[in-house]
């Protein structure tokens, strides 16, 4: 079968941003921003750490939405088409349990 899962730059960037967002909310990066927050605890009237967490959470979710919508690896129709072809090839209709 032809490889149909080459990803666009947009999707690759979104994947990268998800990884960066995760790294940003755990040590050691979190401890770095914490040392800034020890000196300036508020930004726009809200705690810097709170804004930091929710800023990255929001980016994480937006990138997740971007990947889910655009990634060919996550194209459900394509995956299920291949699953059905596979099951047909194996002579199975609804899968089989190996007990």
């Amino acid at each position: 079968m032809k490889n149909e899962t080459g990803e666009s730059l947009f999707v690759k960037l979104a994947y990268l941003l998800i990884i960066i967002s995760i790294i940003m909310v755990i040590p050691p990066v979190l401890m770095g921003i914490n040392s800034v927050a020890l000196k300036n605890q508020f930004l726009f009237g809200l705690p810097l750490m709170y804004l930091w967490y929710y800023g990255w959470f929001t980016l994480m979710i937006l990138c997740m939405i971007a990947v889910v919508s655009k990634s060919k690896k996550w194209d459900g129709d394509l995956i299920e088409k291949r699953l059905n072809e596979f099951l047909k090839k194996e002579g199975l209709k609804n899968g089989k349990v190996d007990n």
């Binding site: 040590p27 979190l30 605890q41 099951l87 007990n99």
Partner: protein
Amino acid sequence: MEKWIINIIVIAITLVIVAVIGFISSRKSKPNLNDFAIAGGVFGPIVLIFTMSATIQSAFSYMGFAGWLYKDGIGAMLDASGILTMSIIAWIIGRRFWLLNRRYGYLTLAQLTKSFYSSKETGAIVALISIIFTLPFVGLQLAGAGYLFDVLSGGKIPFLWGAFIILVIAILYTYLGGMRAVAWTDTFQGIFMLIAFWVGGIIILQNGFGGFAKAFQAAFKVDPALLTLPGPRSWLTGGGYISFWLIFLPGSLLLPHYVIRVFCARSINILKWSFVGTAVYLAYMVIFTPAYALGAHALYPAMEYPDRLFPILLLEYAPYWLAILSITGGIAALMSTLDSQAHGVSVLVARDIYTGLINKNATEKMEFKVSRWTVPVAGIFAFLILVYKPPFLMKLMFLSFGGIALLAPVTLGALYWKRSTKEGAIASLILGFIANAIFEFLVPAPFGLGSGLMGLIIAAVIFIIVSLFTKPIPGSVQTHQRDISEILMSKI
């Protein structure tokens, strides 16, 4: 009319609604394990989002999270961070679980690993670990229910009676309708809880502090350490933080009742959007909690039981009817986790213990009966745990997330690593469990790491070393991985 009677009427109406939803959805059930366990894999995104969220949110999300923020400051937001990251990882490996269900019909992680490793022993250990680290938590949810009943009835309905009432209703609809009843009641409970949690939180912030930002400023005036790490008790150090976060990911992702939900999706497209929806729900459900939980230091400087903070704030600062509705939302939250846990255990017992070990020739009907009857048995067992608090099980609860996390090397090895062997899997599970217990109860873990993380590291190292020195079962592991890679067009 006395206040406690009004409270009980509100709870009773909520419980009747839950029970009716459970009974109506159970009418569509079919008498086989596939339907009882995963509702035949027919759920759409809305039901799936709420039932997935309900397995993760629990009495802890409703009451414990605010208590933790109160004790350890803003660093306790690592709970929200862990939940969100877990949803992303679940999204990445979840499609493999789903495809394996459609290809081989697996219903549990134990069944999947048993087949991958061609090893009855591996499946049995995975099943036992899943059961013993889930069942005591049914008791924990019951304790939350008992407490809320006690508070709302002004002590007129004792703790154990409150827990018993909740248990009977949850067990009854789970017994009758299996996953269909559990998921539809989760949907009602999830919507109810979200509204109750948000509206209650906004009212507390407005009436108790004068606004969202002002609650944080009130916390700062009391103790600036609340707004930074390691927090007022200096508990959230770098090592402790990363330990909790790393254990939380596999510890919640591999919970039996969470894995089962992946199989319930009607299609891959529904599954992927459900993971997104679950991430959004879980991350933003608690968006107001840090403000009032930290600001509460200005109102109650030294709370003995900070887990009770949310109901106490509601009763003090929200209109009475809203407070009662919001607290009832808490009962909905823990009930939705309780039924999921009891249901997850029942499927494990039927598929992995009964069919896997006791009666290999069990028919679908027999499996269904065993699973169904395990629900009340699990409920009785959980209630006995609540009443007698056996010391052995209480100790097991300390190992909970670490215990489930031990399944990670074996699961990931089965999904991604061709050199995985059954000897590696068995050694990893047994020695990882022993290491977890040693670092929890006998020797402090080094570098400020948690016992769960130490157990996981040792389990992973043992899994790799033993697998490299032993031979994989010819065909078994590779065949499974090749099938999935072919369908996904993936190199890994």
